[in-house]
């Protein structure tokens, strides 16, 4: 084997390693390998307070991810936050329209996500429909504030 061919082979090895590394970065390290890339349908939900919910936060039913938060905006007319959920197409027509959407926290200080509790209705959620019953995020300061307020009320009552 002559020197020219050897150089060509080494450059080939180099290029192959480079492309393999890029491929690994894409598939193993980033979300490309795990992300759902199919069709989505959109459902809105209104919350009094979304806490720390962010776009791309997971939407789960029974703990299984069925979609992602697509958009969050504020509606100045009824002073509430409008959250658009993108739900995977395979669940179209399988989620009752009286389902209950609540903002939950993964662990004590973890990321916030949306959990959907299925209702009992015969009709189902479609593209553009709205989830009527929602529960806001738990804001730690408010809970502590209520707790302290409740304690002081209790103290005032027994006196």
């Amino acid at each position: 084997m002559n020197r020219k061919r050897q150089i060509e082979i080494w450059v080939g090895v180099f290029m192959a390693i480079g492309f393999a590394a890029l491929f690994l970065l894409a598939m193993k390290i980033s979300n490309l390998g795990t992300a759902y890339s199919g069709e989505l349908f959109h459902v809105t939900a209104r919350f009094d307070n979304i806490g720390g919910l962010k776009v791309k936060a997971p939407v789960t039913i029974a703990g299984v991810e069925v979609g992602r938060v697509q958009e969050i905006r504020y509606d100045p007319d009824d002073f509430r936050a409008v959250v658009v959920l993108g739900i995977q197409d395979q669940y179209l027509g399988k989620i009752p329209d009286d389902s209950f959407a609540k903002i939950l926290t993964a662990g004590l200080l973890g990321e916030q996500y949306i959990g959907i509790d299925p209702g009992g209705s015969e009709d189902t959620l479609k593209e553009g429909s709205e989830i009527g019953i929602t529960q806001s995020a738990l804001v730690l300061e408010e809970v502590i504030g209520q707790f302290i307020f409740g304690k002081s009320q209790e103290g005032a009552g027994t006196e």
Binding site: I7, V11, F14, A21, L25, S30, N31, T34
Partner: protein
């Protein structure tokens, strides 16, 4: 006073003409792309000396940087009970910052200095003029293949650096420190976005490869053709490339993640 002003003016004009020469050289090299398409062999030879010979240092550096990141990250994260975020931390810092930047710095030291010295010596021994005498354009024939080889090699080396870094982090985190394997990989895949992180990292390393190779080739081509001139040009290559990479990294990070 007038003398001082004159000196300042002369210095400014000199800097501007250097900048102008650098851009003319860049244009000439870009035009050399046609020559490369006709003779891909030239590019392959340069990819060997710029890319293949840099593989070892990049691989070893990546592995150790990943291992150190995992060790230090574990120390901080375990205070808050957040060891499960270790994979994300290691991968994010590698893909977004350390991979492209450290690869470019090592590339400037390993390949950039070699490019400058080689081209500077060609100039000092009048090989470049010799080519011109034979009606061969040295900018197309000698400089352009080196430039495009650098442009191709740096993103690949950066990707390899990040991959091996994650592997090193996983070896230390999963093996030595006993972080949960599933949490390590899931946290990483959840946190790293393909478009935001991987693509931006590749764009960064492309820019760094462009700048580093350009500086190296220009310093060699523009050096004073003596042994002292070549040695100074080599030093300047490493200093200028490193500063340019670090400065550009700030600008790019502010644009991409700001």
């Amino acid at each position: 006073m007038l003398n001082l002003l004159g000196d300042l003016g002369a210095w400014g004009l000199q800097a501007l003409t250097r900048l102008g020469r650098a851009h003319l050289l860049l244009l000439a090299m870009l035009r050399g792309l046609l020559e490369i398409l006709r003779r891909p062999r030239l590019l392959v030879d340069q990819l060997y000396s710029v890319g293949v010979l840099t593989l070892l240092i990049i691989g070893v550096a990546g592995l150790f940087v990943g291992m150190v990141l995992a060790l230090q990250g574990y120390n901080v994260l375990s205070r808050f009970g957040g060891e499960t975020a270790l994979g994300f931390m290691v991968a994010a810092s590698l893909v977004r910052e350390l991979g492209p930047v450290l690869t470019a710095l090592l590339f400037a030291g390993r390949a950039g200095s070699a490019l400058t010295a080689e081209i500077g010596l060609m100039k000092a021994t009048e090989q470049l003029s010799g080519l011109e005498m034979m009606a061969v354009n040295p900018e197309h024939r000698v400089l352009a293949p080196r430039f495009f080889a650098g442009l191709i090699a740096v993103p690949m080396l950066a990707a390899l650096f990040s991959c091996l870094g994650v592997l090193g982090g996983w070896m230390v985190g999963g093996g030595l420190l006993g972080v949960d394997q599933a949490a390590f990989w899931n946290g990483m895949q959840d946190g790293i976005d393909f478009n935001d992180d991987i693509i931006n990292g590749v764009i960064k390393s492309l820019v760094f490869g462009f700048v580093c190779t350009w500086i190296a080739i220009f310093q060699g081509y523009d050096c004073v053709p003596t042994s002292e001139g070549v040695s100074r040009a080599t030093t300047r290559t490493v200093v200028h490339s490193s500063l340019a990479v670090l400065g550009l990294d700030f600008v790019l990070t502010a644009l991409m993640f700001g």
